[in-house]
């Protein structure tokens, strides 16, 4: 929150004079527009989730959550995120180590490729795996003969989730590690530390808050992913439905209370993510990343 110190306090405004700030009327109009806009676009939808879930009282809410299908959806979401996030964690650290600590040809191109999933529609992210593993693909006969089930099962859900959340942790770590430079590591190496020791005792402590920040965002997206997962899941109730898919099914069955009840869990996840993220930004802004200090 660096700008708080930069932003002029009311006293300073007076000193600088009217020429470099807006008149109070303009100022409050802009603040008003912002607040109304955020109310209509962000806050009311969030409030609506909780309101609709509790519309028929807490009993109906709890009953909807106690449903075994909801339970299996929660379990599946945890499994998928529990596999995808660590995979991207390892990848993110490796990619950031190569890109931030070394200079090599084609680096910009590699960075572009890592960002690629951001500009691919979630539906297409799912589709590519359907094409790869579906019954019409070249791999289909092999998969069938070995009895491996990828599509409409957990492996495809994990693959699609990994694809969608692919850049998150790397994106967070690269600017941070670039900013930190290599002198700490060089010092450790010159004092006789091995490569792994250097990483474990020097680099990792330096990036831990930035890493946590990336994991937080990656996890929120992994648990909330809808489009990509929807395409590869096959919507088998109680088997391949993650929480967002369960929300969709319940909603389309006009079971609104149950749909919004499951949605409250996801909204709570979002709120917890936001709170933790804000705390990290306030407490460790210098250790997250320059681009995130706002």
């Amino acid at each position: 929150m660096a700008h708080d110190t930069q932003a002029l306090a009311p006293g300073n405004y007076a000193r600088v004079g009217k020429a470099t700030t807006e008149r109070p009327l303009a100022r409050w109009t802009l603040i008003g527009i912002s607040l109304v806009f955020l109310l209509l676009i962000l806050l009311l939808p969030l409030a609506a989730v909780f309101f609709e879930a509790l519309r028929k009282g807490p009993e109906a809410f709890l009953e909807a959550l106690a449903d075994p299908e909801t339970f299996s959806a929660i379990r599946l979401t945890l499994i998928v995120a529990g596999i995808s996030v660590p995979l991207n964690l390892v990848f993110g650290i490796a990619a950031a180590w190569a890109i931030a600590k070394f200079e090599f040809k084609g680096k910009a191109f590699l960075t572009t490729l890592i960002d690629l999933p951001f500009s691919v529609s979630p539906v297409i992210s799912g589709l590519v795996f359907v094409l790869l593993f579906g019954s019409h693909s070249i791999l289909a006969p092999y998969l069938q003969s070995y009895g491996i089930k990828i599509l409409f099962a957990v492996p495809a859900l994990v693959l699609a989730t990994v694809f969608v959340t692919f850049p998150f942790i790397a994106r967070e770590l690269i600017p941070l590690m670039q900013e930190q430079g290599t002198s700490d590591e060089e010092a450790a190496l010159s004092l006789g530390a091995s490569g792994w020791q250097t990483f474990w005792y020097v680099t990792l402590p330096n990036i831990k808050w930035g890493l946590l920040y990336g994991v937080l965002l990656c996890n929120a997206r992994a648990m909330g992913e809808f489009g990509a997962v929807s395409v590869v899941s096959g919507h088998i109730r109680g088997v391949t439905n993650t929480m967002p898919l369960q929300v969709e099914i319940l909603y389309n069955e006009y079971n609104f209370v149950a749909a919004f009840a499951v949605a409250t869990l996801l909204a709570l996840l979002a709120l917890v993510t936001l709170v933790l993220k804000t705390l990290l930004e306030l407490r460790y802004s210098a250790e997250i990343s320059a681009s995130r200090r706002h």
Binding site: P45, L87, A94, S119, V130, L131, S289
Partner: protein, 285 residues
């Protein structure tokens, strides 16, 4: 984004750090396995259709309409996000008011809230009997089940992209520039429109591009509010899903390929404009 300004030191420093081969190996292996092979599969499948068939599938009126709706609504939503995003970023950077910290944190809600949740919540709000919809219905404005609903959903998902790219650049604006403009006799409005906003152009373009790209591909938050009426409010990602459910893989592949080609070329063009405006105005973004 911040990296560009710091690049100079990297060339000076010869590296003694170990692990480059391992790190790059893991990166390339994982990138190839998860991203490149699947995307290449899509490219091979669509080129396997042959030009004539691909064209016939892509030029199908329903497909063309869905693409038009997807790109049109995403464009409109990105424009709206730029307008409100600049105001919001300005308010957050320059002014002090109660609850500012919370507002600042809330801007990231669309990043954290699953799209399906946002979709059903927005639909409930903007339905004719919803909290907001009930005020719009007497005015003759229909949001749910129309392209307008799609735009609102896309404004929701795209908002943080613009605010979060513009905000840090705004924080770095040199106050002296404004003071200079003021001493030279510029009114406040002139200072903002002629001095400050042009400098923000690269950041605004980045935000626009990110919001637009996200909007074109968005699925979860849109399908509930859109009503998905073919030729009217059916977006391209949904049409892909419909074709997949019909086991019409060639059509799904063709639509996906067209979408990817269009989005990548648009991003490429925006990148070109960006590097031009960065040369022209000098702010990093």
């Amino acid at each position: 984004m911040a990296a560009q300004t710091r690049k100079s030191w990297q060339f000076r420093r010869p590296s003694v750090l170990p692990g480059f081969g391992l790190a790059l190996g893991v990166t390339l292996f994982w990138l190839t396995l998860i991203v490149l092979i699947p995307l290449a599969g899509l490219a091979i499948r669509s080129s396997g259709l042959g030009a004539a068939k691909f064209w016939a599938l892509a030029a199908d009126p329903r497909t063309l309409n869905a693409l038009r709706i997807s790109f049109g609504t995403a464009f409109l939503a990105a424009i709206l996000n730029v307008a409100f995003g600049i105001i919001l970023a300005w308010v957050l950077v320059r002014y002090r008011f109660p609850g500012k910290r919370i507002i600042d944190a809330m801007v990231d809600l669309p990043f954290a809230l699953p799209t399906a949740v946002a979709g059903i919540a927005l639909t409930t709000l903007y339905a004719p009997n919803g909290w907001i919809g009930q005020f719009l219905t007497p005015l003759g404005i229909k949001v749910a089940l129309t392209p307008l609903g799609i735009v609102i959903a896309l404004v929701f998902v795209g908002l943080p992209f613009v605010v979060r790219t513009v905000q840090p650049v705004m924080e770095e604006i040199d106050r002296e520039v404004e003071e200079a403009a003021a001493t030279l006799g510029a009114t406040r409005f002139q200072t903002i429109s002629r001095v400050l906003l042009p400098g923000l152009a690269p950041a605004v373009l980045t935000g626009f591009a990110l919001a637009f790209a996200r909007g074109v591909g968005e699925y979860g938050s849109v399908i509930f509010i859109a009503g998905n009426i073919p030729y009217v409010s059916e977006i391209a990602p949904l049409l892909i899903v419909i074709r997949l459910e019909e086991f019409n893989y060639p059509a799904a592949t063709a639509i996906a390929a067209v979408m990817l080609i269009l989005s990548f070329s648009l991003l490429f063009v925006i990148n070109l404009i960006q590097s031009w405006s960065r040369r022209r105005y000098g702010y990093g973004a």
